[in-house]
Symmetry: C2
Subunit: 575 residues, 2 copies
């Protein structure tokens, strides 16, 4: 049996309603006493003189398992109260009557019922009794399902929510009962829905539905696990959505204020509880591309509103819409479950050009010459290319043996671009090196070195207050040290490693510190000594060596640190 | 392979983002050109002078499959832009950089990143490049997962959304970058999350995860289908939620403004995409009952915000909260996916007494005497009791053979109450008969007759303009006919059957019409003739006989109609 997050399946619905009422803010929701028979959630503010009683109450409900419908929609502008049965079972006459008595004032009450025999009879009898007790109660039955052709009793699906929303908005605005009921009947008469799923409804405490075969979908199924009218292997989403939209279009009532074809519609995309939100967005795309979708003035969803436990499916509801209905559908409301809101659609420019030209512009600095920098870069890249095999051999002891090739490939790329680099502008040069290393060098080390030069390059750029200057100028190494320190700092921040973690930082950080005061030679010496020290670090805390046991690391210098030492040595030797 | 609502799995993410952007209202969302590599959704109004550029931009993103995170949260008060990778894969450096360049103005940009190596490096490099290009970019990395003890790199989970919300609110209010980044870092440093699921993440185009055994749950799993740190048979929800809450409490940073224990917290209940909303409410209940839940000042969710395709699970995030954070978490925002809002919790009276006493009060009419009514009721009930076997035999030909017993049981109950009925007050009598029939008579026919008398009783009650009067008074049968007509009308409305559908209405409706002008004898004759006519109706359109073939119905009178004819005959004979 599938695992469910419940305590006692028999207490499931009362416990869920307790969660809903308990998790609501102060003075938002209350429930009637009378568990387990009476499961009624109502607006806690309904007795306040400015909120309720003098307005029409809107009450709905039905079996549980469709949450957030209906209790999740109790709030100003939507439902005044919701009556819940057990999972997929109608509430009792007494429960419905209790709700009616609890919220109906002089202005009367509209009762919205989904078209199932049990609901119709129990809600109907409660309405008659409430009337006999002197209350003004109107009832509207919603049967929006189009799955079963020519049935005299189409089922109530998510289209019911549009009835709630319109009735709730009118009631909140102070409209009288006949107007609220009239609008609700108009929506109920006009709305059409169709559902599809690739799984059944899985109910806590009952055996899972085994009807579904992997890869199959059922079209036209109900919200209680009733089998669909058609089962097939699910193909492209656009095809099935096209079919559904065409069927809905055919089923929309002819004529009316909005015209036969081409009139505005509101579309409601309701997910059944277990559809991945990513897939729901694909359905939106495909739905809006259909002829029906092109007529959509308003879109509600995708959202899990009238669910069937956690079925992996959705339903689409369509309703011809005019200004009056649109206003009601767009009106503010404040239920526990945030009503997803109706979005007005319309054509607008949805595509923005890439800022890449701006970026290229920024990077398109002119090549410039600096012989000292050229010599330094040539020396460093040459040394790394020469060290390819040695570094690979070192890496083979603790990793996958490609550190030498990775660095050599990057070095070759830099060498090949030497004539078009802005050698005389350190910030621009480092920015360009960042780009080259990011694209020419694989793995995390490529990204990290790219980060190093990007950060180093921004020292002295417009984003910083540092001074710009040549890379290799003899004499004052402080600006270069500042830039590299900023780079090393960025590597630590983004890579998450620090000194002593057995990475290239163990050579880089001492070298950068030594560079400021002691110049290139001191930096090279510090890098060498830092790299050598990694041979005695038996615990790597970053990079791939983190997964290698200490006994394999003993005496082996970290190949990244070694590469850094080689580079600093070459730079110093050239000066 | 599980069926999914997609077209081409390779185009899944761009198509989903097209659905999101296409389904947004005018001037709400746009995307950058550059599919499939660049998948960036941004606020379409960001270039408007009053909306953007002079404010701090807030950018986030990561792999897809977590929708609505992150593109669904682009909008005023939340994210300025979102960068999406493929399913569960980090976006490229270029994509992140494009987003930064597209939205960052003088006020700078905050980049919010979940703590995964790929995201950290790619977003980090993009941030460095953007800085090198002169932009002010701050980055905050969120690692809120507490599943893996003592890991140096905890994963980023749904707690990231609290960072978005706080940063987005401050940015929208016009706060400068250091303040926005400072608040974001404070949230990132303080938030802790833990996840649980009973299923893996099912990705379109890939084989389903087979790791999960029915009935089992994994605690401490990631949002990419990474295995949990513990697997067990799922027990009571309250127990597992208790454990999770205790672990979160232990993991919350000590001290700080909110104090160690007992300080206010915000709780975020995030569902992973496939959890039944009904179960999520049980989790709310159980969570609020824990010591951590008792400290909750704000509750966000349950809502599917940071999903993992359609995993059947949830995560809980906790963060110590003070007035400043609470303000930011409660601030208005307007993303595509409706932000569920934070609800302020607090004690209030959540239980309302049942209105049943009112109801009982209304029904507690005094017994009264009317000898004519007493005689009529005695005659009718006696006739129905006498007809028990005959009606059962009739029903056995087209149904389950219990119509006679059903009517007889109801008749016996009415007889037994005769001395306490308000015989002299027709409205009150019918209301009481409705109650008796509703409880003493099983099945749909009991509810329908209960509806009949409830509606008949409300003619002449406070809810109606009709006159009250005695039931059996000789002479003017019009008021009684009006009442019964209203009752028959209600039966038609709620039951969905009409004349000619082979139900008791075929006797009842002609009888009620005849009663007004011709009196009791005419009514009895009409009921008899109506009942007899059902014998030639070969298609039942309501009730259980609707499932019986026409050849079985031919010549058999509908037992319900027969019972009505017997009742009217007895009433007429007595006069």
């Amino acid at each position: 049996m599938t695992a469910h997050f419940v305590n006692d399946p028999a207490a499931l619905v009362p416990e869920a309603l307790d969660g809903l009422v308990g998790g609501a803010g102060p003075s938002r929701l209350a429930r009637l006493d009378g568990y387990p028979d009476i499961k009624v959630v109502l607006r806690a503010d309904w007795d306040r003189a400015d909120q309720g009683r003098d307005r029409v109450a809107v009450v709905s409900g039905g079996g549980a398992g469709h949450e957030p419908a209906h209790a999740g929609f109790v709030g100003p502008g939507l439902l005044t109260a919701a009556v819940s049965g057990e999972v997929f079972a109608s509430p009792s006459v007494d429960a419905v009557l209790a709700a009616l008595l609890a919220v109906t004032g002089e202005a009367g009450c509209l009762l919205v019922v989904k078209n199932y025999t049990g609901d119709r009879l129990n809600f109907g009898l409660a309405a008659e009794r409430a009337r006999a007790a002197g209350l003004r109660v109107e009832m509207v039955v919603v049967g929006d399902d189009i799955a079963i052709p020519d049935t005299p009793a189409p089922r109530g699906l998510a289209g019911t929510l549009l009835v709630h929303k319109v009735a709730g908005a009118l009631a909140q605005s102070g409209a009288p009962l006949d107007q609220v009921a009239g609008a609700a009947r108009r929506v109920a008469a006009g709305v059409r829905s169709l559902g599809i799923s690739t799984s059944g409804a899985d109910i806590p405490g009952r055996r899972s539905e085994q009807r579904f075969v992997d890869g199959n979908a059922e079209l036209g199924l109900g919200i209680h696990g009733e089998p669909g009218v058609e089962t097939f292997a699910l193909g492209r989403d656009a095809e099935i959505v096209d079919r559904m939209a065409a069927a809905l279009t055919d089923a929309l009532p002819d004529g009316g204020e909005s015209g036969v074809a081409g009139g505005d519609v509101v579309l409601l995309l309701n997910t059944l509880g277990g559809l991945a939100p990513l897939e729901a967005l694909v359905v939106v795309r495909d739905l809006l591309a259909t002829p029906l979708g092109q007529r959509a003035r308003l879109l509600i969803g995708p959202a899990a509103l009238m669910t069937s436990m956690s079925m992996r499916g959705f339903s689409v509801s369509a309703l011809a819409v005019d200004d009056e209905l649109a206003r009601a559908l767009l009106a503010n409301c404040a239920a526990w479950t945030t009503w997803p809101g109706a979005r007005e659609l319309g054509s607008h420019d949805r595509l923005r050009v890439l800022p890449v030209p701006t970026l290229r512009e920024a990077g398109k600095v002119l090549a410039s010459e600096d012989t000292a920098v050229r010599a330094a870069l040539t020396a460093v890249t040459g040394a790394l290319i020469d060290a390819e095999q040695a570094l690979n051999a070192l890496d083979a002891k603790v990793g996958d043996g490609d550190t030498g090739s990775t660095f050599a490939a990057a070095a070759r790329r830099v060498l090949s671009e030497l004539d078009v680099l802005p050698l005389a502008d350190r910030s621009a040069l480092f920015a360009r090196l960042s780009e080259l290393l990011g694209s020419a060098m694989g793995g995390s080390s490529g990204v990290l070195l790219s980060i190093l030069f990007a950060a180093a390059g921004s020292v002295g750029s417009a984003g910083s207050t540092g001074s710009t200057g040549s890379v290799g100028s003899a004499g004052d190494d402080a600006p270069l040290a500042d830039a590299l320190a900023a780079g090393a700092d960025a590597v630590q921040r983004h890579g998450g490693a620090g000194e002593g973690d057995r990475t290239m930082l163990d050579a880089l950080l001492p070298a950068v510190r030594a560079l400021r005061d002691g110049g290139a030679a001191a930096a090279a010496a510090a890098a060498r000594s830092g790299a050598d020290a990694t041979g005695s670090m038996e615990q790597a805390r970053a990079g791939r060596a983190a997964y290698v046991g200490g006994q394999h690391l003993r005496g082996v210098v970290d190949p990244g640190a070694e590469a850094v030492a080689i580079a600093f040595a070459a730079a110093a030797a050239h000066r």
